[in-house]
Symmetry: C2
Subunit: 427 residues, 2 copies
């Protein structure tokens, strides 16, 4: 049932510098997999259902490499602190509420509806430390048709009582149970190992999580080098680690043996960058959050030049919105400020690069995802950019650029597909 | 006919640091002027039509102190250059098209519809050098019900042939004719003297514009200290001027004798700042544009601390959107980066300050505008923030904060009034 043909003006990334545009074309999807783009419907596929989007713009679904589902409840609020104070003032008190399943039910219904309505088709998600609430989140996310990795968060130190797990052992045990209960349960969602960050996890806990990641072959997500105060704290907590990344690597939680995504990487030093490259760690660039909690600007030009894997993250609710269009604009904007204010050798990012990061770049975390090339899973969003009028004729590439910059205008999103299956854009 | 009562949850600025919130209250408007906010409808006003907005949020209409109407046609496009190259590559070629009235008609219809749909009730606008097209723009803006100042742009040097006026004399004469033809013609729009910026205006032209401003008592708008290359160029062109601002002041185009708004002020030095303060020059802070064309970050904390007049500008199409909600978020965000990257003594802006700038602060350029205090002109927008669901109970102040941060979600804008008259939010 996941076979079809999409018709419209098609645009996707071949690589970091190359946008492919195909005007008035047909994208063939068989069993959820892209099977070519054609000027006319090929005879062999003539029987497939046609989704005719006329002159609308069709792009790959957007990939969100980092967000916090429980924080959606206070999105757009409380941007007046730096990271560590922000966590204790806003994030932790909200996350503590998810011990109450009724609250979690209400909140996660709102979150999943928000994700459904967005242009996002893949998302890597932090839940809370609560196993049951996180399973509820997975139930709901699975039903949306969006594909996700979802983590039960681990915290056994430097957390309020309400969020501190009883012991490293208890946290590891609970996580193993979470993995067993969720690994083969869903069509669209999978568990991911989720130590919140070094300051909230003892070495013993990290060691256990490393074991679980290896044993169950589960990927890993966490935070890295976001804020100067946080980094100094990690240095105190792990005097044995050469850098913040090394504190993850020691426990097998830094790209090897399991794929890993690290959010932020604003202040990674030369050695940490080299380790990320060597280990194939994905970087989730979260420009909104890095502005809102005053962290700074990540050196994305350097990461791209050195061949690191970079995608975008909405980082709710350090970031104010789930919209990855907004994240793309912010990534472009802060790269210009970085060039102006920090390093005049760091050429600002361009639209093709940022679009690549938000599709094929981040998509790699999910496999062959984020492009319309043959063999890629068919995630697509359709944008009715005629709702953004202009007196000028525009090329498809210009239409993409404009759709990104004006992406806040969600009215324009007119259809969405994940793995070849249409997702209803409710409300 | 501009008398009515608005019911809802009301929020406005008393001053830079003080948000007033009035839950479940009635704002009385008589002949377009605010006459108090009440818990119940006062008997003496019982006969006024009631616009009941239930539990929706009612805030003052937003004030846009700086935008370029002709550039709306390429909003969200061409953000890959610095200012001077950006002007010659994107802005000037587009503006040249407005010699064609048919094109101007199409383009300005789209612009005015965009403004109408937005939360903006007051706007200070650059047209092009073309008198007829700019009058057409005024015809259209006037009909929206939004209040505006609109300028026919002056350029008699350093412009492409298609945009360079024949001589200073011709430019002055044309501007005088523009003033005479538009000064008393409209209900909602007025002319404003608009030298593009120092590089595009000879001293002779500036002198003539200064004379016109004084003679006809017409306010002034221009650009100031936006980009290092631009500032160096002004220094070459006006070696006699102590700074960029002084090049305007010499001709009576810097706050005295007529009120003046200067866009950007990213790199104003101590002396220029002192002059702006002394002359009461309004600063139009345009954070999007300052990021998009890589200008930098304006030191708004300093301007506020020193008591300068600051409002926000969308600066289409250096800025990508007319949404002043977006501009507010960007103002908050770049103030955090400024603190982190440029000056750790410059406390980041808060929501109350940015909301003040976008309402009462910028509103002062239009008179008693931008607040719901007694005697202020009644501009209001109504936001249905129930469309932004959350499981948490929120105070009115939190609802305002969230509405700002999520303001890209234009669906939530449910009604708009200017001078006590409702403006239809078409499509």
């Amino acid at each position: 049932m996941n076979s079809m043909i999409l018709h419209g003006d098609i645009c996707y990334s071949a690589d970091q510098n190359t946008l492919i545009t195909r005007l008035d074309s047909y994208l063939v999807c068989v069993d959820g997999i892209c099977k070519g783009i054609y000027d006319k419907i090929p005879e062999e596929h003539a029987q497939l259902p046609l989704h005719d989007h006329g002159k609308k713009l069709i792009i790959p679904g957007l990939i969100d490499l980092h967000t916090h589902a429980p924080q959606y409840a206070f999105r757009g609020l409380g941007m007046d602190r730096e990271l560590l104070e922000w966590l204790s003032t806003y994030a932790f008190p909200e996350e503590a509420k998810y011990s109450d399943l009724a609250y979690a039910d209400r909140a996660y219904t709102i979150f999943t509806e928000g994700m459904k309505r967005s242009a996002t088709t893949r998302v890597v998600v932090f839940g809370t430390m609560h196993r049951e609430a996180t399973k509820l989140l997975m139930d709901k996310l699975d039903r949306t048709g969006i594909v996700s990795y979802v983590g039960k968060v681990n915290m056994d130190r430097n957390a309020p009582n309400t969020l501190r797990e009883a012991s490293a052992e208890a946290s590891i045990k609970d996580t193993e149970r979470f993995i067993k209960e969720t690994s083969n349960k869903y069509r669209n969602t999978q568990p991911i190992i989720t130590p919140r960050f070094i300051p909230s996890c003892t070495d013993e806990l990290m060691e256990g999580l490393g074991r679980l990641a290896a044993q169950y072959r589960i990927p890993v997500q966490s935070h890295l080098s976001e804020n100067p105060g946080e980094i100094a704290w990690v240095r105190e907590l792990c005097p044995w680690a050469e850098n913040y990344g090394a504190a993850y690597e020691r426990f097998g939680l830094f790209g090897k043996p399991q794929k890993t995504v690290m959010a932020h990487c604003v202040y990674s030093d030369d050695r940490e960058i080299a380790m990320m490259k060597e280990n194939g760690v994905f970087i989730a660039h979260c420009p909104a959050s890095n502005m809102n909690v005053a962290s700074g600007i990540a050196p994305i030009r350097r990461y791209l030049s050195e061949g690191l894997r970079v995608g975008l993250g909405s980082d709710l609710a350090g970031g104010q919105t789930e919209s990855l269009f907004t994240a793309m604009v912010e990534a472009l904007q802060v790269s210009r400020l970085y060039w102006r204010l920090v390093d005049s050798t760091a050429t600002p990012l361009n639209v093709a690069e940022v679009f690549y990061m938000t599709t094929k770049g981040g998509g790699e975390f999910f496999g062959k995802v984020g492009s319309f090339e043959d063999g890629y899973e068919c995630d697509a969003v359709v944008i009715d950019d005629s709702l953004l009028p202009t007196p000028r004729p525009l090329t498809v590439q210009e239409r993409l650029e404009r759709a990104i910059y004006l992406g806040g205008d969600v009215k324009a999103l007119s259809a969405k597909y994940c793995r070849g299956k249409q997702i209803e854009l409710s409300a």
